[in-house]
């Protein structure tokens, strides 16, 4: 999977967008215990890519491998033409460009640039500001560490702090900063040495709800001005939509889907991606043409119909949003049998959402789960108690089959 950002289509044979000037081209192969990371990532200069995935999917390992903080033995990482990780022959990374290189590559020496020598800026989830240094000294740290004279480092750090709107808090220590301010100092600190790759690990996770909203907008603006590639990790789809031009869904160390954030959220390929918006993705036994459209045969024998075109991309699936699902007690069919094929199910759990109740049910045949939203007034109604028998119907006009 080498589908990259803008520019990849028009340059056949020369690799992907990321390996061009300023871009990132990474073929990450990391094995640790039972966990395997096997993920290709190409990011164009100026592009922001969000890695979206459940806990333990390997998102943070991706950042660690790119930053050089996690051993990434079998990986190839090229940033702005510089090999950070991989086999090198004549200053060029091998193995990444084509099968012809593969045999020569196995004997070429491996290079792994240590973290401190990588032109990479990292914003950690817990910010990791140095508690004994002021905000200004924190931001100046990377410049000083790379040998920039003190006065110049302080001046540049001040500019960086101004840019994140914290010029007047330069003399505060991290203990005297709010979560949002500390996050902005962390971003300024990562950007100050002028990295060619910016990495952000759950940049908004450590903040409370109000600060998140405010900072998400501020961060989107900051990231928009970053010239190099940016990779951020998040488990919040709202962050992905607000901050990134492209989202890569990572599960079990692999990229399972990628595309524009809105497109991924509207057409989820996996149950995890579906869960981000409360949608449902099932894997059908098979999909075939039937009277009036497509029909999917579900494990256990049930069927779901679709009046839409068959989707061409992604794995075989039955996908539909929560609004497509109707729940009703068994034995009462207001449509008199004219509606979609009913699937008998039982209520698994009921969750309070802001304005609705989310009722998760599991089908009697096949054990498939789906979540429907019902009006809040239905709280405590006997039909939606856990264990209650219900009938699931899915609106064919809102079902995607592939």
């Amino acid at each position: 999977m080498t589908a990259g950002g803008p520019g990849s289509a028009g340059s056949p044979g020369s690799g992907s967008a990321g390996s061009g000037p300023g871009g990132l081209a990474a073929r990450l192969r990391v094995a640790r215990g039972d966990f395997r990371l096997d993920l290709d990532l190409d990011v164009a200069p100026g592009e922001v890519v969000a890695l979206l995935g459940p806990n333990g999917a390997g998102k943070s390992t991706v950042l660690g491998a790119l930053a050089g903080l996690v051993p990434a033995d079998g990986s190839d990482v090229v940033l702005d033409g510089q090999v950070l990780e991989g086999r090198v022959l004549g200053g060029r990374v091998l193995g990444a460009t084509g099968p012809a290189d593969a045999t020569r590559a196995s004997s070429a020496p491996r290079a792994s640039v240590p973290a401190r020598d990588r032109p990479v800026g990292t914003v950690f989830q817990d910010h990791r500001l140095f508690p004994h240094l002021t905000a200004l000294e924190n931001v100046a740290f990377g410049l000083r560490a790379r040998g920039v004279p003190a006065a110049e480092a302080r001046a540049r750090a001040h500019v960086e702090l101004e840019r994140v709107g914290l010029g007047d808090l330069a003399r505060r220590r991290p203990g005297e900063l709010s979560g949002g301010q500390s996050q902005r100092v962390a971003v300024a600190r990562a950007l100050a040495p002028g990295p060619r790759l910016l990495l952000l690990d759950e940049p908004l996770a450590a903040l409370d709800a109000t600060a998140r909203v405010e900072l998400r907008a501020a961060l989107a603006e900051l990231l928009g001005a970053v010239a190099g590639p940016t990779v951020l990790v998040t488990h919040d789809p709202v962050d992905a939509v607000a901050l990134a031009q492209r989202v890569v869904v990572v599960e079990h160390g692999r990229a399972v889907q990628q595309g524009r954030p809105a497109a991924v959220l509207l057409d989820p390929h996996s149950p995890y991606a579906a869960s981000l918006t409360g949608a449902t993705v099932w894997t059908p036994e098979r999909v075939h043409l039937a009277a009036g459209g497509l029909e999917a045969l579900l494990p256990g024998g049930g069927t779901v119909r679709s009046t839409r075109e068959r989707a061409t991309e992604g794995p075989s699936r039955v996908a539909f949003p929560a609004e497509a699902v109707t729940l009703r007690p068994p034995g009462h069919d207001p449509s008199g049998g004219a509606g979609p094929a009913p699937l008998p199910a039982r209520v698994l759990r009921v969750e309070q959402r802001l304005s609705r109740l989310a009722v998760t049910v599991v089908t009697d045949a096949g054990g498939l789960t789906t979540t429907a939203e019902v009006p809040l007034e239905a709280v405590g109604a006997p039909s939606w108690r856990p264990g209650a028998a219900v009938v699931v119907q899915v609106d064919p006009s809102r079902v995607t089959l592939a």
């Binding site: 930053a67 903080l69 240590p114 973290a115 401190r116 020598d117 990479v120 800026g121 990292t122 950690f124 817990d126 990791r128 140095f130 508690p131 004994h132 740290f141 990377g142 000083r144 560490a145 790379r146 600190r189 990562a190 040495p193």
Partner: protein, 279 residues
């Protein structure tokens, strides 16, 4: 309901805090054992003649030697002990026997009678010692019975206090901050200097103060390895020992000085510093 529950818990805690006599009595006896000797010293002190006794040449010389040697021993312990503490924290990855051996070597002066340490130092650095002989024959350097010997004896006994205190502080430093420093381009040395050292500074200070106090009070190793030449190697503790045989009142007077220094060190350390290592 929660309020009454917490009130009940409060009353219970208060009741629990009252110790049973089987604990209280030995605790008080133990406390008396630690406190009463100091009281006896204060009672027996020759208060009227205290000034002249403390200002005698012998005492002033001993004070000068003591302070000089203890300061030098503390500096030497800092220079050698902080890297040693760093080595101890990185020894976690070593095979267990090596790790235990290293820790034993660092800790042994804490449990060894100092006089044994003094004898051992003589056999190492004495004129006929393992290193002392070549030093003497080739370079003409003689260490025993000099100020250098006092400093070495004090360092041998006092440095472990500093090492263990600094090691505790080093272990308390968030590894994530060192990772962050590396990600910002800092070399290991730069990260150590700019991040680790400032964060362990309280632990280093505590260790240095303890080390200084221990060096100032050192007796056994000093008298064995460095002797008691007035003005050169006679420290306050060795002068107390000598005075005790000829002029007991002066011994008490000098003891008071050492007691005052000990109390001052404890006041300087405060709880926070003393508990740094255990964090």
């Amino acid at each position: 309901m929660p309020a009454s529950a917490s009130a009940e818990r409060g009353a219970g805690a208060r009741r629990d805090r009252r110790l049973p006599p089987l604990v209280l009595v030995p605790a008080l006896v133990g406390l008396a054992l630690l406190l009463l000797p100091a009281v006896a010293l204060l009672v027996r002190a020759p208060w009227a003649s205290l000034g002249p006794r403390l200002l005698s040449d012998t005492v002033l010389d001993a004070l000068r030697v003591s302070v000089t040697s203890a300061v030098l021993a503390t500096l030497l312990s800092l220079v050698l002990g902080v890297p040693l503490a760093w080595l101890l924290t990185t020894s976690d990855g070593w095979p267990a026997p090596w790790r235990r051996l290293l820790r034993a070597v660092v800790t042994v002066p804490l449990v060894l009678p100092p006089v044994v340490g003094g004898i051992a130092l003589l056999y190492l650095l004495g004129r006929t010692g393992l290193i002392g002989r070549p030093l003497d024959e080739l370079l003409g350097v003689t260490i025993p019975f000099t100020l250098a010997a006092v400093v070495i004896a004090q360092t041998f006994v006092a440095m472990p206090f500093l090492v263990l205190s600094v090691e505790g502080a080093l272990r308390g430093v968030d590894r994530g901050l060192e990772t962050a420093a590396a990600a910002l381009g800092a070399s290991r040395w730069y990260a150590f200097r700019r991040v680790t050292v400032p964060l362990v500074a309280p632990g280093v200070t505590a260790g240095a103060v303890l080390c200084f106090a221990r060096a100032l009070g050192e007796f056994g190793a000093t008298i064995t390895f460095a002797g008691t030449f007035p003005g050169r190697t006679q420290t306050l503790p060795t002068s107390v020992y000598l005075a005790q045989q000829s002029d007991p009142e002066s011994a008490v007077a000098i003891s008071l000085v050492l007691l005052a220094v000990g109390v001052a060190v404890l006041l300087l350390l405060r709880d926070r510093w003393l508990t740094t290592g255990a964090r």
